[in-house]
């Protein structure tokens, strides 16, 4: 019991010496703490950015359109149940946009055109890069639709213009106009039970430079009502926050768990995303390693100076009977404490640094990673100890008789 207490008092005195040296010599050690804190700030900041880049840039990449296309397997169409299952499987937190598309041929002025029924709000999230003259359509005004630039030119449509679409309802047969019938009889056929017709108003003209310019975009529910059918999508375009590997995993899961669906990752996008992310992460990693090396050099020179400055104190301790390893353990203890203080300060400054970078570069905030506290402190304790080994070994060369007489 007494022995235990005595051991405790040795430890207590060791801590008292180590902390006393740091606290009472604070002004001399501020440079060392500063060097470590700056290193830790940059390290924890860069590590935060390193792990946040995929998330941040992943969302940036989502501005370039859907990265996962889901088709029905075989001849069947995609039901609302399948859509719901797909949404649950991918997870709402990963989905930027999920727009089902139903394509229907309609006639305008007796010419065939393709109308695409979709969830316009989701389509907007998927394709923020579309240039819309006017505004995006929405479910509040189902007769206001967007037309592709090509169609607008062909039909000479401008914003606010109305036009009529006609077509055959789902599951019905078209009845051809008879050449020997009068115009009135033919019109009766067109407006018969199996056909539909509706006046729509142009609220936006879509320019993408792609195939979208040849479509009319309407609310999918309105289209379903118009053609007299329930929800049946031809394709679902998904914008998912995920890299190529994650997308591949998601695709496999979809194939396994929702057999009615056939997922296709848009390789062009996912691969570019992965290449850019990989290069950025490598750059951040390189800078981090360089910062670590610079910090190590800085701690090394500081510890060298500290040992030189405290030569007399070290000589005295040796003269009092301290073994080399005991004196070295005290100096290393100070190094560990410096690493802890510098690392702890650096974690919080590093988060502030990463937050500012993220806000300025990506326009989004980041979450504080609590795990970074022990990791950064552990890394900087290790760096400080490693950088202190050579300076601390100088203790062995200090000869008390020579140093203590050297006045």
């Amino acid at each position: 019991m007494e022995n235990k207490q005595r051991k405790g008092s040795r430890k207590t005195f060791y801590l008292k010496m180590v902390s006393g040296s740091l606290i009472r010599r604070a002004s001399r050690l501020i440079i060392a703490v500063l060097a470590i804190a700056i290193g830790a700030t940059i390290l924890s900041g860069l590590v935060t950015i390193y792990y946040d880049i995929p998330e941040q840039l992943g969302r940036e990449f989502r501005s370039y359109g859907a990265n996962l296309i889901v088709l029905p397997r075989g001849e069947a169409k995609i039901t609302r149940d399948s859509l719901k299952s797909l949404e649950n499987l991918i997870g709402a937190n990963k989905i930027v946009g999920m727009a089902p598309y139903r394509y229907q041929t309609v006639k305008i002025n007796e010419q065939p055109y393709i109308i695409a029924g979709t969830d316009l709000a989701q389509a907007q999230k998927n394709s923020p890069f579309w240039y819309i003259e006017g505004k995006w359509g929405d479910s509040s005004d189902i007769n206001a639709v967007m037309v592709g630039h090509e169609i607008a030119q062909t039909l000479n449509l401008k914003l606010g213009d109305t036009f009529m679409i006609q077509g055959v309802k789902y599951g019905e047969q078209a009845e051809a106009s008879g050449q020997n019938l009068s115009a009135i009889e033919n019109q009766k056929r067109d407006t018969a039970r199996q056909n539909f017709h509706k006046n729509l108003k142009v609220c936006g003209i879509v320019s993408t430079g792609g195939a979208e310019e040849g479509f009319i975009f309407v609310d999918v529910d309105m289209l379903d009502d118009l053609i007299g059918d329930t929800f049946r999508a031809d394709v679902i375009e998904c914008s998912v926050v995920a890299d190529a590997n994650e997308l591949s995993l998601i695709s496999n899961k979809i194939e396994k768990e929702i057999p009615a669906l056939q997922p296709r990752a848009v390789r062009r996008l996912t691969q570019s995303q992965d290449i850019v992310l990989g290069k950025l992460q490598a750059l951040v990693l390189l800078v981090t390693v360089i910062v670590l090396i610079i910090t190590m050099i800085s701690v090394y020179t500081t510890m060298m100076a500290m040992v030189a400055e405290r030569k007399r104190e070290i000589a005295l301790k040796k003269a009092l009977g301290a073994e080399n390893k005991l004196v070295m353990s005290e100096l290393l203890g100070e190094g560990v404490l410096l690493g802890v203080i510098g690392g702890a300060v650096g974690v919080f400054l590093g988060f502030e640094f990463a937050l500012r970078v993220s806000l300025n570069v990506f326009g989004r905030g980041i979450n504080f990673q609590w795990i970074l506290i022990p990791i950064t402190i552990a890394v900087f304790v290790a760096i400080t100890v490693a950088a202190s080994i050579i300076p601390v070994r100088k203790v062995m060369d200090i000869h008390p008789a020579i140093v203590l007489k050297g006045e």
Binding site: R24, A319, A401
Partner: protein, 233 residues
Amino acid sequence: MSDKILELKNVSKIYGSLKALADINLSVNAGDWLSIMGPSGSGKTTMINIIGCMDTPSLGNVILDGVDISKENAANLTRIRRNKIGLIFQQFHLISYLTAVENVMVAQYYHSMPDEEEAMEALAKVGLQDRAHHLPAQLSGGEQQRVCIARALINSPQILLGDEPTGNLDEENEAIVVDIFRRLHDEGVTIIIVTHDPEVGDVAQRKIILEHGKIVNDIDQSATFGEALKLRN
């Protein structure tokens, strides 16, 4: 008391062509108070470094408490020094970031276990219990030297070794330190002191004079020992 605590037999220390100590023979009994005097370069410091286990002789033997330490390696000398020698320095050499009592406890820490109560007692012995929690920078030179003495005494060494212990003190503080030595001597502590100061040298029981690494005079001051102290006081 007549037990030999220290014996130097034909001890020489040679640096290249320079003989810092030349064939020294010296015996010190337990409880003796010996002063070593001599001009600069006479070998005083070399001798005290060898006695204090901070150096080894080139030739000869040093018997400390019955053990020949002349061929010991550095690690063993450190252990012997820790257990048998108490060192007092001219420049005090206190650790700047530790208080007076912590400076005393440092010696305990390297020896065995730090014990604040004992350290306070040692400070009380040198009249510094009220200054125990002051940093060295807050103490006068005389007070710092008394802390140094308390530190040297804390592990009950067999020899108290002082290298110019009053060299940096004014007269008043010199008298205080000499008085402490007198009390320690009364308690049976063996004291060996290197000094330039004839007054400090004269208060010892025995005085040896070194010149060019040789003992040129070995004076027994037992007869005037008490008188010299009375005169100082």
